[in-house]
């Protein structure tokens, strides 16, 4: 029961915060709503007993990406202009609602092959052995490392003063 209450609260907070991100005129407030949304998603991860991911979510999204975004807002004087919309509001709104409807319909129609096992506890150790252990995802981890390296170099190259 407690889990259900937590889910509904978190879901409502996440959706409300997400709506705020795309509707608020003040870009800075939109960014703060985004942080709130990230936090709610972290909570959802905890309910799904993905405790490690919840921590990662907070560290990376709330800690790093949000800071980056706020930095970008500051550096580009976005706050003065506000968050405006282009001419596509009505058609995109219709498309997005239709998309939501279609996807929800498809998801509810599908008969998922559910397994009613209890979730794995202490996911950190299990994840680590998944990522780095035998028959694991070690190659993918290395590719991710190269991607991050390339990102660092790329970002520096792009913003460097000529």
């Amino acid at each position: 029961m407690a889990l259900e209450i937590a889910f509904w609260v978190l879901a409502i907070v996440a959706i409300a915060a997400a709506l705020a991100v795309v509707t608020l005129r003040n870009v800075f407030r939109a960014a703060l709503s985004l942080i709130l949304c990230f936090l709610a998603v972290a909570g959802i991860f905890i309910i799904l007993s993905a405790d490690f991911l919840a921590a990662v979510q907070i560290l990376i999204y709330v800690g790093a990406i949000s800071v980056l975004i706020i930095l970008a807002i500051m550096l580009t004087r976005e706050v003065e202009r506000g968050s405006l919309s282009n001419k596509l509001v009505v058609p995109v709104l219709i498309s997005a609602v239709l998309f939501f409807g279609t996807v929800t319909f498809a998801m509810l129609k599908t008969s998922w092959s559910l397994v009613s096992l209890p979730p794995a506890e202490a996911t950190t150790v299990a994840l680590a052995s998944k990522l780095f252990g035998e028959d694991g995802f070690i190659l993918t981890v290395e590719i991710a490392a190269i991607l991050l390296l390339a990102t660092i170099i790329g970002a520096i190259t792009i913003v460097r003063e000529k």
Binding site: N86, V92, T102
Partner: protein
């Protein structure tokens, strides 16, 4: 040298040029910026590949079944249903192609050192040449269709980059685009065939597909459609009718690139593909007949256009299309050995012709034969080598072209008499247009060269350009002798029956005499018109004016395609609709009636201009159409990424709804 080549070294054959590409692009250009070094790296890499290819050939000659078994490894395994290997298939066909590609590429790269001297894109040029050669080498070596398709597309990409090498010239940029798009039409067929074969057999391994076709498992409609799809890919790459339009325009690239494209890479890929998948064609009468008919038609069709071109490279381009038609005809009526033998010989003399044309333009600053003339005395080496190549392509005994061409003729006389007569007429035309080039370029008096020429007096090219031409000239004379006793044919197809025997023995048959007489008549006619001037070119032109107009307008194929694209494919109505949507729902401001009026008016003016063009056949119509097409297309291309995003979402919605409702 009797030892068999180690497997690792076989991989090196195409890894070396790739490595050279990477070193030039990532290291030499940014850090050393020494153009000559780029050239040397690229040339050493291809030289290494050539040595290794020769070794492969020597190993194969003694290997059982003329085949090397190279262990491969799994690349893509999906659920045990699809298992794609990464491996090499080294057989006699591969070995011949390896020699052709590496040798011609080596000569072209040596020659380019002189031709491209001082060009600001020298690094890029050599990097791309390396990549181009590597792609082609990969294409001929891989053992499954998926990888082959990858290399196939890489060859297409490299030719796009090289044809558009001087991309600041609009003509070059357009020619590159045209080559890319036209060949892509054929590639759809190839891809379709690959998917069809995968879904029907579950394998893309070429050897397995061969055995399936031989065992009769793969038969009937599936086999026919797969073969025709593969041939469609070959039509695009090898510039066969009706997708031949890109090759003449590809002349906008640097001349050594043309030599490479026309001789060893790109266009040879199509012929090679058909030869590689030949067991599939062999078991489908329809497919084999299609290959022969398209080949035979292309041969004569392209030759007629070659008769009237005034640009030396364009004549050569049409002659390539025509000769590729011969190869297809040879494959269709004879078999692998006959078609590939012509490819083998053609590679050398056609590369030589292009290098000669490049040497001529190097001296005169133009490709227009009307501005040349009299170069025989100032450019003796170029003249001698060009003459040899022309005699070879015309099929004069005992030069290379004679041997392969007469085998094609001999096999077509029994199977396809109509195509045989067409091919005979083509022999005459080939001799005529080639010697028209020779007499216009090298005979008579010098007619001044390009008005914008920097060196008013033509001169012989430097020895770095002449040497490769001499090497190729030796091959243009002698490459046909490999099959004098049928050795080449037996190497490729052990069961092949060889028609002609012996260096002089061939002259005991009547057919070679007929073709020799036809070729001689063509040369004589060219001499009579363009050198001795017994006959006036203008008067003959007037006499055959309808033909002249048709040929010199290239049968209006360019105009036809441009109009089809502009009028039908682009669906004017759809774009007008998008524009209407844009204005009504998005801008809300503009009067919709005005737009409709404009659309209707443009449609009628389009019709009118089509009418004019159809009657006039005006060439500048092409430019108008392109502009008009662009104007229509621009409406959909707003440059607004988010609008594109919305269309993506609508597309996803449409697909999802279709899936929900129809499944």
């Amino acid at each position: 040298m009797e030892t068999v080549i180690p497997n690792e070294l076989v991989w090196l054959i195409f890894l070396l040029p790739i490595l050279s590409f990477a070193v030039i692009a990532l290291f030499v250009r940014p850090f050393l910026n020494n153009p000559r070094l780029s050239g040397y790296i690229s040339i050493s890499a291809i030289f290494g590949s050539f040595i290794l290819s020769t070794w492969v050939l020597i190993s194969l000659l003694s290997a059982p079944g003329h085949e090397l078994v190279i262990p491969d490894f799994n690349w893509l395994v999906i659920d045990s249903a699809i298992n794609i290997h990464l491996g090499l298939m080294i057989d006699s066909l591969t070995a011949v192609m390896l020699i052709v590609v590496t040798l011609v590429s080596l000569m072209v790269q040596l020659y380019s050192q002189g031709y491209m001297k001082g060009d600001p894109g020298y690094h890029r040029y050599y990097a791309l040449l390396s990549l181009f050669t590597a792609s082609m080498l990969g294409l001929v070596m891989v053992d499954n269709l998926l990888l082959m398709f990858v290399f196939w597309e890489m060859v297409g990409l490299c030719s796009y980059l090289l044809i558009g090498f001087w991309f600041h010239r609009p003509a070059a940029a357009n020619a590159a685009k045209k080559a890319f798009i036209v060949t892509r039409i054929g590639d759809f067929g190839f891809l379709g065939a690959i998917l069809l074969l995968l879904s029907q057999t579950g394998t893309l391994d070429i050897a397995q597909l061969h055995s399936l076709a031989l065992a009769g498992v793969l038969t009937g409609t599936v086999l026919t459609w797969a073969a025709i799809g593969i041939f469609l890919g070959a039509i695009g790459k090898s510039a066969q009718f009706p997708l031949h339009v890109w090759l003449p325009d590809a002349m906008e690239g640097p001349t050594p690139v043309s030599a490479l494209i026309h001789a060893a890479t790109m266009v040879a890929a199509g012929v090679f593909l058909v030869a590689r998948m030949f067991p599939l064609f062999e078991h489908s009468e329809v497919a084999l007949l299609t290959v022969a008919i398209i080949g035979g038609l292309t041969a004569i069709f392209a030759a007629t256009m070659g008769l009237v071109m005034t640009d030396i490279k364009r004549v050569l381009a049409y002659s390539t299309i025509s000769q590729l038609g011969y190869m297809m005809l040879g494959l269709g009526v004879g078999g692998i050995a006959i078609g590939i033998f012509h490819l083998f010989n053609h590679a050398f003399f056609k590369a030589l012709l292009f290098l000669g044309a490049g040497s001529v333009s190097h001296a005169t600053g133009t490709f227009d034969m009307r501005q040349m003339g009299g170069l025989r005395k100032v450019m003796p080496w170029t003249y001698a080598t060009f003459l040899i190549a022309s005699l070879s392509i015309a099929g004069i005994w005992p030069l290379a072209g004679f041997w392969s061409k007469d085998e094609i003729l001999a096999s077509s006389i029994n199977n396809q008499p109509i195509l045989f007569y067409l091919a005979m007429v083509t022999v005459f035309m080939t001799a005529f247009y080639m010697f028209r080039v020779v007499f216009l370029t090298f005979g008579g008096q010098y007619r001044g060269g390009s008005p914008a020429n920097h060196s008013p007096r033509p001169h012989e090219s430097p020895s770095v350009m002449i040497t490769p031409m001499v090497v190729l000239a030796v091959l243009a004379v002698g490459s046909g002798w490999f099959n004098v006793t049928g050795g080449f044919s037996r190497f490729l197809e052990p069961s092949e029956t060889h028609v002609f025997q012996g260096f002089f023995g061939i002259l005991a048959h009547p057919l070679p005499w007929v073709s020799l007489i036809l070729a001689g008549a063509g040369i004589l006619l060219a001499y009579a018109i363009y050198s001795a001037r017994w006959l006036s070119a203008e008067r003959i032109g007037r006499l055959f004016e309808p033909f002249y107009v048709v040929f010199s307008n290239k049968y209006w194929f360019d105009e036809l395609y441009e109009n089809i694209i502009a009028r039908i494919v682009l669906l004017k109505g759809l774009f007008a609709g998008i524009k209407l949507f844009d204005s009504r729902f998005i801008d809300r401001g503009i009067n919709a009636f005005f737009i409709e009026n404009l659309v209707v008016r443009r449609f009628f003016s389009g019709l009118k201009s089509f009418d004019n063009r159809g009657i006039d056949g005006a060439v500048n119509g092409v430019a108008d159409t392109t502009v008009a097409t662009g104007r229509v297309l621009r409406i959909a291309q707003t440059g607004q990424l988010q609008l594109y995003g919305m269309f993506i979402i609508l597309g996803i919605l449409a697909i999802s709804l279709a899936l929900i409702f129809f499944s």
